[in-house]
Symmetry: C2
Subunit: 357 residues, 2 copies
């Protein structure tokens, strides 16, 4: 039974970091006889440059057939001036939407070896381990109508629609309750139910679902308070579930609490467990091509892919163990460098993980 | 020339903290012969209990005539089950909207005396002084259409509209550019222009305005990145301008960086400089009635009111100096208590500020 992994390097540091993850994947493929086949495709700015669209048919068709996708990052100043439909981000959003990857899992975990990188006090973040479950194919990202219109008085108005149906809320809610069951059994649903009707429905459905998960403790928090509590006392959280836009904001905030966003993976899954995996960080155009980017978030994303979409727990664990080993050895790319560490390049970090395997 | 100040204690700890600010205001009124007249009214849950509406006509008419308003806080679990139109928050939102208080100024300042209260490392936050300018009468808070509808397939969909017109963006932009001119001359506009059309217009108008303020350096940041950067390196910011929803989230996050949200005031102004002033924190129902809430954010809000809406700089400065003095004396309410401090009640803190005046 051979399975296909689609590699989508994308833009900025994307190609460099995906190249390292690819080497690791080839190594475990052989070592554990996984029978993975690899394909690659263009997405984002790279695809715009090549084919004038951020999501070419070829990429979409490969993605639909693939068992799992590993993506680098998309976007950069080069394409910033383009109209909305031609932005690199539309490639990413198109993939999420067409493959119905509605469940975005974003862990915010503090690596003990990197604790000092956090801007927070050690006692506030040590042992931090939060899972953010973000709805990814609905909400204001995809709501219709949207655009810029001219009003009667001649001035323009920009508008977007924030909408969720019961079933959209229910399916992401289930993923979150199940994640909580596997972890600390605490789920915090984040909304703005004191102002936004769409999140009143959100809260209602979450309360409804709770009855099916008696072992999970459900709480609700307004998004402004959640943004505060993440700074004040992040360890109060186990699993957080929220909509697309709030999830975008809170997961980045939570990731930064660790101080090492270059270490954090993410998974975007559909109901068939087909998934797209990518680092939490962006395309970092300012350091692209310099060979100094941290490939570990992408490598850990590859491990997550092996675990969730390919059900190769052993290979996943082997990669994670190798990453831990290189961290223990003190190897550090620039973004996580601190006193006493040994600074390495993107490629050297990849070499070290390969060796540790 | 007598001027009227409307006091709206609201809910939870609101009455306790506004009572202390009122005593301070009476004192400076006499001391500086300000000729202020005081009125009071009901809003939020208190008004719901009394008159079955969160914003009674009487309160609205007093508010319209007042030169400035000092508000405590609204909301609490007692009213959580009510339908949207009957929520305490609607009182607050109604006041903002009817008085066109479109400019919400929320400083996030670290008091050196309270530096240890922050969950961030001292070097990351020492000297922190950010001003967040949040649009307050538009965006998704007030956008139409909104509600919950039944779809053809029988399931419900919740929806809200995020909209801004050019002129709404322009007027908040001007407030922000002017604030930046008075401060460090750096303005960061926060949007999600890679996804939301309404914020593409936002960015365009900000760029447009920039030409009128050549001395201000304008930058743009996506909201997810802003949430991260506030944690990573908050001192990179001087003034931040953003819409209603993003401003709600980021200003709470920024406030919490200081660790002492019980110290932070806010102002909501219209184009006549009429203003509503309130602490950044909420109604804290869990400690309401216990006499332990921190009245300082409300007292500092009163100082802000004297400065911006009543143009009584001397009285404002006197209050601020008195607050600094009690902090230097080591007096601390529970929320800002730390080793070596003297713990005081709400009333004792008010007494101390009065004495320091
Ligand atoms: C690039 C952008 C469209 C994307 C998003 O907003 O979802 C990114 O910030 C993310 O979180 O994956
Ligand atoms: C109480 C609530 C409606 C309000 C808001 O969301 O604007 C509050 O969070 C604030 O920031 O003043």
């Amino acid at each position: 039974m051979s399975r296909t992994v689609l590699l989508l390097p994308g833009d900025g540091i994307g190609p460099e970091i995906v190249a390292e993850a690819e080497r690791i994947l080839h190594a475990v493929n052989e070592k554990f006889d996984l029978q993975l086949r690899f394909e690659s495709g263009l997405v984002g700015g790279a695809a715009l440059d090549d084919a004038d669209t951020p999501l070419p048919e070829d990429t979409l068709s490969k993605a639909t057939k693939a068992d799992a996708i590993l993506l680098g990052a998309v976007g950069g100043p080069k394409w910033d001036g383009l109209p909305m439909a031609k932005r690199p981000e539309k490639g990413l959003l198109g993939l999420r939407s067409k493959l119905e990857l509605f469940a975005n899992l974003r862990p915010a975990v503090l690596y003990p070896q990197l604790a000092s990188a956090s801007s927070l006090k050690p006692e506030v973040v040590s042992g931090l381990d939060i899972m953010i479950v973000r709805e990814l194919t609905g909400g204001i990202y995809f709501g219709q109508p949207r655009g810029v219109r001219e009003l009667e008085n001649g001035e323009r108005q920009g508008y977007n629609t924030y909408a969720y149906t019961e079933s959209e809320i229910r399916r992401i809610g289930r993923v979150a309750f199940e994640a909580a069951q596997q972890r600390g059994k605490k789920l915090c649903s984040v909304d703005k139910a004191n102002v936004l009707e769409v999140t009143v429905l959100w809260r209602e459905i979450m309360n409804d679902l709770k009855r099916e998960y008696p072992d999970v403790e459900l709480s609700h928090m307004y998004v402004d308070n959640a943004a505060m509590q993440l700074v004040r006392a992040p360890k109060q959280f186990d699993v957080i579930v929220t909509g697309n836009m709030f999830g975008d904001i809170l997961s980045d905030e939570a990731a930064m609490l660790t101080g090492s966003i270059g270490m954090l993976p993410s998974a975007s899954l559909n109901s068939e467990k087909q998934g797209m995996y990518e680092p939490c960080h962006g395309s970092a155009p300012d350091i692209a091509g310099k060979g100094i980017a941290n490939p570990l978030a992408t490598i850990i994303s590859a491990a997550m892919m092996l675990r969730y979409s390919l059900e190769e727990e052993k290979a996943a664990a082997a990669i994670e163990a190798a990453v831990n080993k290189v961290l223990d050895q003190g190897l550090r790319t620039a973004d996580i460098m601190s006193e006493g560490g040994t600074r390495v390049s993107t490629r050297e970090m990849g070499d070290a993980v390969l060796a540790a395997l």
